[in-house]
């Protein structure tokens, strides 16, 4: 019986698809949709997100990109995702320690890079979301970021013919719905892959992958001292850890604890990816450090024994990771090889009108 019912549902759905497809082709002028061709870098770990029910398509990605640059995603139509995530800075909020959003309200955290998202299992410094399809809800709902609701955005977009056509061309049901908006953004973020830095070329034995001796020294220091947390070629293990930053008394940000409420999650923050790190200053969840030099000075001599400090940073009775000046310079030289010019200049991610 149940089978039969499902069959019928399937048949009905198929009829509808059919009907809606033939309808679009008639007047939209948007090319027929096809799977978006994107490659998984050979040096990356497996995807952490299941994108099987939302595989990127040409039109889906184009729609996601348009939404990423769309001010209507905010209550007063002034703030888009790109306002805080600028391509030239690997999709971070350049020059802002704490991001400011709607009504010029100041947030409590620094905007991290949006890149290689499907390979990560947790999002935001506190893990406010762990699903790529849902994560866009977080900035949209945030009263100091976009302060909007999904149904209200859908209503705004429905008044725009361009969106009506794009949604029809990108999704089977063609609707301007909450789920289709989130899925389009997820498709766009799925293809925002950064894997073409000098370092990548080096590990994949590609042309232009020659590292200097100093960069190679930096790489091996990194592998010894940093890669437990900034792990794999994503340079994050997607875990929450306390790296010993003295808590900022003005913010008193408890990090992961905000989401879980567990005492042993206090002051833990998601390990950020270090790809494009030379472009993403300022650093740390509150953007307290203005340069990589300051970051390394901190690891070398500023780590504090706060609640839940990661055991890795308090080995052999020493706090932090002592580094000589030379080692710091080598590490910085290495971190700079993670800059991916192709990613930050890829027209695929530009605003297109």
């Amino acid at each position: 019986m149940k089978k039969l019912q499902q069959l019928f549902i399937a048949a009905t759905a198929a009829m509808f698809l059919f009907a809606s497809c033939s309808k679009d082709d008639g007047y939209s002028g948007i090319p027929e949709d096809r799977p978006f061709n994107f490659e998984i870098p050979s040096n990356f770990p497996a995807m952490a997100q299941d994108i099987g029910n939302n595989m990127p398509t040409e039109n889906g990605v184009a729609l996601g990109r348009k939404l990423f640059y769309e001010n209507k995603l905010s209550r007063d139509n002034t703030i888009s995702c790109s306002f805080c995530h600028e391509q030239a800075y690997a999709f971070t909020h350049h020059g802002h320690d704490l991001s400011h959003g709607i009504d010029n309200l100041l947030g409590i955290r620094n905007a991290p890079a949006v890149q290689n998202m499907t390979f990560q299992s947790e999002y935001f410094y506190d893990g406010a979301s762990n699903g790529i399809q849902l994560l866009s809800i977080v900035p949209i709902h945030n009263p100091v970021e976009m302060d909007e609701s999904l149904p209200s955005i859908a209503a705004k977009l429905a008044e725009d013919d361009a969106y009506v056509q794009l949604f029809q061309s990108a999704f089977d049901d063609g609707e301007i719905s909450s789920s289709n908006m989130l899925n389009a953004l997820a498709q766009f973020m799925t293809v925002m892959i950064s894997a073409d830095s000098k370092y990548d070329k080096y590990v994949r034995n590609e042309p232009d992958g020659n590292m200097t001796q100093q960069e190679l020294d930096g790489l091996s220091l990194f592998q010894n001292k940093c890669s437990v947390c900034h792990a794999t070629d994503l340079f994050t293990d997607s875990k929450f850890r306390n790296n010993g930053l003295p808590p900022n008394p003005n913010l008193n940000d408890l990090g992961r604890h905000v989401v879980t409420g567990f005492e042993n999650d206090k002051y833990k923050f998601k390990v950020p990816s270090l790809r494009n790190v030379a472009l993403t200053k300022p650093y740390m969840h509150d953007g307290r450090f203005g340069s990589l030099e300051s970051v390394l000075d901190f690891y070398s001599s500023g780590v504090q024994e706060t609640q839940n400090l990661d055991p890795i940073l308090q080995q052999n009775n020493t706090l932090g990771i002592p580094l000589s000046e030379e080692e710091k310079q080598a590490l910085i030289a290495f971190l700079k090889t993670l800059t991916d010019e192709t990613f930050i200049t890829n027209p695929l991610f530009y605003e297109q009108t």
Partner: protein, 274 residues
């Protein structure tokens, strides 16, 4: 639009079945065939009394609670026959919100195979499987939940139970606010299911809709096997008891498994018109 169309199709399919079954009618005493509806009615209570928003009740933690909000998500409904046969309500349709302030008390189930059901099982909240399927699977439920205060504001999860009000205790004679927001997060899965025995068999027939009357005791959320004393959970400023994470949610998950009891079942509730 799509949905209506689908329902019509399903309905016509079922009416087709009914017609084809009617042949047997005269040969059997009672035909238990075809499909009918059923309803779960959630009657909210507070420590044995009816729940009245704005009314007060002292519990065994020696705290007097004035409840201003009680909303919760009921999901994954399963009806079980005496021999253990389970009818699992289609997952896509199986998410419901009960809200005292919204006067939303019923879970209406359609197209249930006719039968005699002796147990009901349901979930409190949204299961991880569902959640991880992402927004596509959740469709309008996210928006519906958001409109009913059943989504977290700073993360992408559902509130399974939203229980709010004020309380007084030995430590505070002036009422202080409390918010108990039960839910899962990416560290703990607090979704739980309960299976309840029905005191009377629920008869689902083509023209008979049973109404399963369930009492939900809100007090059990904090005052069940696990005692959650609000005055011991104040914020640092001492102005508010917010329980939204940590060990407490795991304890509450256990309590909520005892919060529901079936009071009675109305059978024959007339033929339900679609």
């Amino acid at each position: 639009m799509k949905k209506t169309f689908r329902n019509i199709l399903i309905a016509s399919l079922f009416s087709g079945l009914l017609v084809s079954c009617s042949n047997d009618d005269d040969t059997q005493q009672e035909t238990i065939e075809g499909f009918g509806d059923a309803e779960l009615f959630f009657d909210n209570g507070m420590a044995g009394d009816a729940l009245i928003l704005g009314g007060s009740k002292t519990n065994s933690n020696n705290e007097t609670l004035t409840v201003n909000r009680l909303n919760y998500i009921i999901s994954n409904v399963v009806l079980i026959e005496e021999d253990g046969t389970e009818y699992v309500y289609p997952k896509n349709e199986s998410y419901f919100i009960i809200s005292q302030e919204g006067d939303m008390h019923t879970v209406h189930l359609e197209n249930i195979p006719a039968g005699d059901y002796t147990q009901v099982r349901f979930g409190i909240g949204v299961d991880e499987l569902r959640y991880l399927e992402g927004e596509t699977a959740q469709q309008e439920f996210w928006d519906y939940a958001a409109a009913n205060n059943m989504t977290w504001t700073w993360s992408t999860g559902y509130r399974f139970i939203n229980f709010e009000g004020t309380f007084t205790s030995e430590n505070n004679s002036e009422p202080l606010q409390f918010q108990v927001h039960q839910g899962s997060n990416s560290a703990t899965d607090n979704y739980r299911e309960v299976t309840l025995n029905l005191p009377t068999t629920a008869r689902v027939r083509v023209d008979e809709m049973p109404n399963i009357h369930i009492i939900a005791d809100a007090n059990t959320i904090v005052d069940g096997t696990n005692k959650i004393v609000l005055s011991e959970n104040l914020n640092t400023a001492g102005t508010n008891a917010s329980i939204m994470g940590g060990e407490n949610l795991i304890l509450i998950a256990e309590n909520t498994q005892q919060m529901f009891t079936v009071d009675h079942v109305h059978n024959g509730g007339g033929s339900h018109q679609h």
